[in-house]
Structures are given as structure tokens and as C-alpha cells.
């Protein structure tokens, strides 16, 4: 009797996972990309991402059937060394990290001043320059960095009386002007607005334009630069149907999923590099009817139903252009958040200006070649699109209204 009671107690205390994903309720999808879990039996990850700070990659999965944004941000916000000085050994190059110090002026290490022999002496020395700086390169622009160092400005200086930073946003004070003694500086988590971090020689007012033929110096020791945030780019969006993962192996074409260490909540194409998108080998076969459900948003001209050919597409969003939103597809019907919409770019644009569900029933034009799936346009500048989910059924028998209702409830659309 005691054993039976224990068994019953065990059952009562065990949480029952009642999760039923869309692929459990509406099976047989050909492709199913989502940041949230779609199948209770799916054991894989949602995406694989590349960290911008050091190009390391990691799979990110789910927690409670939702995207594991905490793991993503923990991965992205890894603190990485950009520069650690090794002036003692005569080097103005780093002993670790991936940066170098560069300067058009004169640097000497090790140098001795005021009791320390592990300093780097920076001397203004140009007959033509009016600004004098040394710089740490290369920085990951837009990320948060921390800088610590000690500086010494000789008391006898009459021109170079401070050191000033111009590449860090919201830094106050940006000028350091103690003379005649070693002074420590710690700058924490400031956004770098350049791909270099410059230490300018400045006058007593902080001005960096000192005129030509300045020959005064200042000293730096124990310089450390670390990066505490990064962006993350999607290299693979795993297909939860198990058929066709969407990938992008070219770094400049990979879409973003985290910026400055923060999860975006969607996968966002990068539009400043033509062709930027994820591609899969799923084929829109000529004459094959399909139903696609795309949860996405535009932030400019966008193609949601992209293919590997720039001239075959559906779901084009472009304000002010009333041409059809598709080319190379036929027998097409479009629905925005479950409501029928016309086949114009303006209709798609007005819908997708917010995160929305775009449903398309169509087929690749008969007589046309098969085209494979691309999440965005594969040429030019129609990649201003974000995605949360992208599901395709190779039929039109799936209950469209039910699937739409399920998706809209999940995303609160």
C-alpha cells in the first residue's frame, strides 16, 4: 500500500508536458523554420549563430518550447580581450587579443618615467599633421567596450596637456588631464563608434587640433581593451520538419539575430550587402501547389517568398508600387493575418509594416524551372525583411484557417 501511495505521489508531482506544436497538430510540412519549437518530439536546435567578436559559433535551442534567448545572450556577451599591452617587452603590439596599436607618430616601449619602466612613450612628431594620436585597431564598431590604463603627462608640457577620446559614445569626461603623476583610468561599457579607438594628444581645453611640429609626449602603461558585447548572425536555421536546413556560409550575407548583445526577437536580413539571406534546397517545383505561412515584417523593400533566382518570387512588399507582388508563380491567393488581400505590393507592404502572418497559396508556374527557397531576395536591395517563422506545406489541403489561428494566437498577432 505504501509503495502504491509513493507511485501515485510520483505521478502527481511529475509535470506533464502537454505541449503540442504546430507540426504535431498539422503534420507533414515540407519545411518548418521557427525560433520557437514546432514539434514536441524535435530534439534539435532552433538556429546556429556566429558571434561577431571572434567568429565562434554555437547552436541555440529552446527553453519551455520557446527560443532560448538567455543562452544566446550569454554566448554573445562573452567578454573578449581586444588588446592587452606588453610594453615591458618592448612591444607596441599586443601579447594577447586580436588588435594592434598603430600610429603615424612615434611610439617607444619600454620607456621609463616617474618610477615605472613598463610604459609606452607616445611622441607627437610630424611636420604636417595637426592632430596626433595612437590607436587600437581593429574594433567591432557598435559594441560595448571597456578600457583601462594609466597615463602620465609630463608637468613641463605646455601644448599636450590632456588625452582625449573621440570614438566612444556618451563618455564623460572624454578628456583626462592630470599632469606630473601616474593616473588610472577605467572606462566601462561604452559603445565604440569607430573601427579604431584613438588616444588623442589634446591641449588643456581638450582640443585635438594642436597645429604642426608639436614634439611633446605622454606615456601609457597597463593598457587593456575588452569587448563585452557582440552581434550574432545566423549561419543555420534548422528545419524542424527535418528536411531542409536554411544556411548561409558567407559571413557578410548572414542575417542578424542579436545586436549589441541583445536578442532581436527575429531573424533580420542585412540589406547593405546584396544577396544577404538564408537559403535552403527546398524546391518550388513547377506545377506543385503549396501553402506557405510566413511570420515576418518589412523595414523597407522586401521579398518574403524569395527563391534562388532573382526573377522568381512572391510576397513582395514595396510602398508606392502597384505591380503584382509575385512573378513566376500562378494560381496565387494571399492572406494577411487570415484575411484575404489583393495581389499587389502595396497590400503586402501595408500588412507587413508590422510583424504579421502572410499566407500564400500558389504554385510555381507550369513550364518554369524549379526554384529553391531563399528567405529574401537574392539580388539587389529587397532584403529588408525579418522572420520569426516560415512553414511550407506541399499541398493546399492543410486547414489554412486553423493553422493561421494557431500561429496568430502564438504570436499574439
Amino acid at each position: 500500500m505504501l509503495r502504491l501511495a509513493n507511485d501515485i505521489s510520483s505521478i502527481i508531482n511529475t509535470p506533464i508536458d502537454i505541449f503540442e506544436g504546430r507540426l504535431n497538430i498539422y503534420p507533414d510540412a515540407e519545411v518548418a523554420y521557427s525560433l520557437d519549437k514546432l514539434d514536441k518530439d524535435y530534439q534539435g536546435s532552433a538556429v546556429r549563430v556566429r558571434r561577431s567578436s571572434d567568429n565562434q559559433e554555437q547552436d541555440i535551442g529552446f527553453v519551455d518550447n520557446l527560443f532560448d534567448s538567455e543562452s544566446l545572450e550569454a554566448f554573445v556577451n562573452y567578454e573578449s580581450d581586444v588588446f592587452i599591452s606588453d610594453f615591458t617587452n618592448g612591444a607596441v603590439n599586443p601579447s594577447s587579443g586580436n588588435a594592434t596599436i598603430t600610429s603615424s607618430q612615434t611610439m617607444q616601449a619600454p620607456s621609463t618615467i616617474d618610477g615605472f619602466n613598463d610604459a609606452m612613450k607616445f611622441t607627437c612628431s610630424s611636420e604636417t599633421a595637426t592632430k596626433y594620436d595612437f590607436r587600437v585597431a581593429t574594433m567591432d564598431r557598435g559594441q560595448l567596450i571597456s578600457v583601462s590604463f594609466q597615463y602620465y603627462i609630463p608637468s613641463e608640457n605646455t601644448i599636450v596637456e590632456s588625452i582625449r577620446f573621440t570614438d566612444l559614445l556618451n563618455l564623460s569626461p572624454a578628456t583626462f588631464n592630470t599632469k606630473g603623476e601616474w593616473t588610472s583610468v577605467t572606462i566601462t561599457d561604452k559603445e565604440i563608434d569607430n573601427n579604431i579607438l584613438r588616444f588623442f594628444a589634446a591641449d588643456s581645453s581638450g582640443a585635438t587640433n594642436l597645429g604642426t611640429e608639436v614634439t611633446e609626449a605622454f606615456y601609457i602603461r597597463n593598457l587593456e581593451v575588452t569587448q563585452s558585447t557582440a552581434s550574432a548572425y545566423v549561419t543555420t536555421w534548422y528545419d524542424q520538419s527535418g528536411n531542409y536546413d536554411a544556411t548561409q556560409s558567407t559571413a557578410s550575407r548572414q542575417p542578424k539575430i542579436a545586436v549589441q548583445g541583445t536578442y532581436l526577437g527575429y531573424v533580420e536580413n542585412v540589406n547593405n550587402t546584396g544577396f544577404a539571406t538564408l537559403n535552403s534546397t527546398y524546391a518550388y517545383v513547377a506545377g506543385q501547389r503549396f501553402t506557405s505561412f510566413i511570420v515576418g515584417q518589412q523595414f523597407g523593400n522586401a521579398v518574403f517568398g524569395g527563391t534562388n533566382s532573382g526573377s522568381v518570387y512572391y510576397g513582395v512588399s514595396q510602398d508606392g508600387n502597384t505591380e503584382n507582388s509575385r512573378l513566376g508563380f500562378e494560381n496565387l491567393s494571399s492572406f494577411g493575418n487570415g484575411v484575404s488581400v489583393a495581389d499587389t505590393r502595396e497590400d503586402v507592404a501595408s500588412l507587413m509594416v508590422n510583424m504579421a502572418l502572410l499566407t500564400t497559396l500558389a504554385q510555381r508556374s507550369v513550364g518554369g524551372d524549379s526554384q529553391t527557397l531563399a528567405m529574401g531576395y537574392t539580388s539587389g536591395s529587397f532584403n529588408n525583411c525579418r522572420f520569426k517563422e516560415y512553414i511550407i506545406y506541399n499541398n493546399q489541403s492543410v486547414d489554412r484557417a486553423e493553422v493561421e489561428a494557431n500561429i496568430m494566437e502564438h504570436y499574439n498577432l
Binding site: R50, T250, S252, G274, S379, G380, F382
Partner: protein, 70 residues
């Protein structure tokens, strides 16, 4: 920003220099792909923000580079 050249090999060398410097691993294999102008003579590659080269720099590529545009 793009580097352009009529010598495709120059851009290949730039891309390889970035690849080496960045140390891409696993599923990421390269920085960028070289874009060929429809005239078959001009080539371009996206500039990496951290890597400079003595090549012609263009702010953007005109529509003539993408005749397939919508």
C-alpha cells in the same frame, strides 16, 4: 562600401586576407562573394569594416550591377 576592380584576382586576394584574419570556422567559410558586373569586366566585393586594401572604393553599387532587380 565596396572594393571594385577589373582584376578579379585582386578581390579574391582581399577576400582571402579577410578570411585568414577573421579565422572563420565551422559553417562560416568566407567573408564575402565576389560580384561580377553584367559587362563581364568589372568586379566588386563588400569591404570588411576592419580590413583596408589599396583598391578602388565605391560607396555602393549602382542598379547596373543588378539588372535582375525588381
Amino acid at each position: 562600401m565596396y572594393y571594385t576592380s577589373t582584376n578579379r584576382e585582386e578581390l579574391v586576394a582581399y577576400n582571402e586576407a579577410v578570411n585568414t584574419g577573421e579565422g572563420y570556422t565551422e559553417t562560416t567559410t568566407e567573408w564575402a562573394e565576389i560580384i561580377e558586373h553584367p559587362n563581364g569586366k568589372d568586379f566588386a566585393i563588400l569591404k570588411h569594416p576592419s580590413y583596408e586594401a589599396e583598391l578602388t572604393l565605391a560607396e555602393s553599387l549602382g542598379d547596373d550591377w543588378f539588372p535582375d532587380s525588381l
